[in-house]
């Protein structure tokens, strides 16, 4: 007999990349998110790195970069950026995510 854990392991797990692949998204060439590096450097919590549900934020050699193409447009990073380093505008009309089952 299998343990509960073994039984439940049968459920398929998708990586975040696979999940993002499922999202219909018309990607713009222009980023709708910009980061003010000067302000960003002073930030103590860097919560953008963990709050983004698309894992769009990454830290490279002390600098935070954003892969705006993966953005799900929730805006959480903008709100959590308490110092205001992240400038977040809605993607231009017609661009960005297209949810079906929201």
């Amino acid at each position: 007999m299998k343990t509960l854990e073994q039984e439940n392991k049968q459920n398929k797990k998708l990586s975040i990349e696979d999940k993002l692949f499922l999202v219909k998204n018309k990607k713009d060439k222009i980023s709708h998110i910009t980061i003010n590096k000067k302000i960003c450097k002073k930030c103590q919590h860097k919560a953008c790195l963990i709050v983004c549900p698309a894992k769009s934020y990454e830290e490279n050699h002390g600098t935070i970069e954003v892969a705006y193409e993966n953005c799900l447009e929730c805006g959480s990073c903008r709100v959590i950026c308490t110092d205001g380093a992240i400038k977040w505008e809605n993607p231009r009309g017609g661009f960005g995510v297209r949810f079906k089952n929201g």
């Binding site: 039984e7 459920n11 709050v51 894992k55 959480s76 709100v79 809605n90 297209r98 089952n101 929201g102």
Partner: protein, 438 residues
Amino acid sequence: MSQNDKVEVIIVGAGPAGLTCAYSLAKRGAEVVVIERGEYPGAKNMFGGIFFSSIMEKIFPEFFDEAPWERFVGKRKFSILAGKSELAFDMMPSAFNEKPYNHSFITLRGTMDGWLAKKAEGAGVSIITDYCVSDFLYEKGKIVGITSGSGDEDNLLADMIVCAEGANSILTEKAKLRKKIDPERRSIAIKENMRLPQNVIEDRFGLAGRQGAAFEYFGEAVQGLLGNGFIYTNKDSLSVGVGFSLSDFIKNRNGKNPNDILEDFKSHPSIAPLLKGAEIVEYMAHMIPSDGFDSLPKLYRDGLLVIGDAAGLLNTSFFHEGVNLAMASGIYAADTIMEARRKNDFSSQTLSLYEEKLKDSFVLQDIKNCKNFLSFLHKNKSLINDYPTLMNDILVDYFRVSEKPKTAVKKEIFRKVKKNVKFTRLAREMWGAWSNLI
């Protein structure tokens, strides 16, 4: 559009608030244009899953027969996850399983917002999609129009603008109606749509016909953050997700991102069997307002009204009503605009009527009533974390089969409780819970 194009009312955002406002105005003869940044109404919208429909059904009595709702909420469960255990309160009130089904319908926004948009268009509303409003246009301090920021030819002017932009209220900030949003005033919710055959859903959740289940999970479901996990049954898919306060990601971080927390939730031994064989079709994210009565934005200024999520109009308590309040605010905004139109005066003085109407209704009264709900829970996390775990431990001890005499078991339990609970503190917390949560 040319630079001088002008209409009577522009509504920014084709969600339930904006479309209701538009429909209500058009029905009374006003010229209304709804501007939507997505490719279709609903393209940028997401919610947990329950459409509270009492306002909807007042406007559209055909809602029940015609609207694309998935299932009515016949079964509800409030559950606490502790470790690998679950403790739950299950309900299936017969009153909620017959018309009007407690005005609670599990819904997907893509289809429902589209249905509402068709109703608005039927009443004469024009809906322009693929247009993102980047800012308002001003004239002597009055808001007089909108711009996409890509050139004057896209500008559109109006007597009145209604901002129904949603929870990520960028325009409301630009119009100086609110300061930069505090992370404590927003939650993030992520959701997956998981396909599962209709008969499997009905067998697995014990549902008959169009009956649906709304399961909400607290405690370990969101790993000590302030929020909850959920499963809602659609016709042939499940809405599965988690939501939690953004401020917890600053204060209370455990390094996990929302998707990690969702995956942990989905693999909990109580949840995983419910999802067996379900295929992920879509992954979505959205913010939820939790402004609360004391930090609502200013709701109007010359030429502008703010409605729905943009105005922070959401019942943040156990009820989690959003759509209902959004639609009500849309109607009160429409009533106010009709009055302003009659007087030909769109100044903030006339528009203040909107706030009066909200105050006289369940919208602001309910928001006022639950104003301490979230701050109380933020300050008293033991209520959602420690006590549920202890409660689970106690029940496990109580029901555990052994040869130990039950009187000895009871004594042990009492000692455990005494060790873990300070009764004066518990009394204080219970009183706080009674006055702030219920």
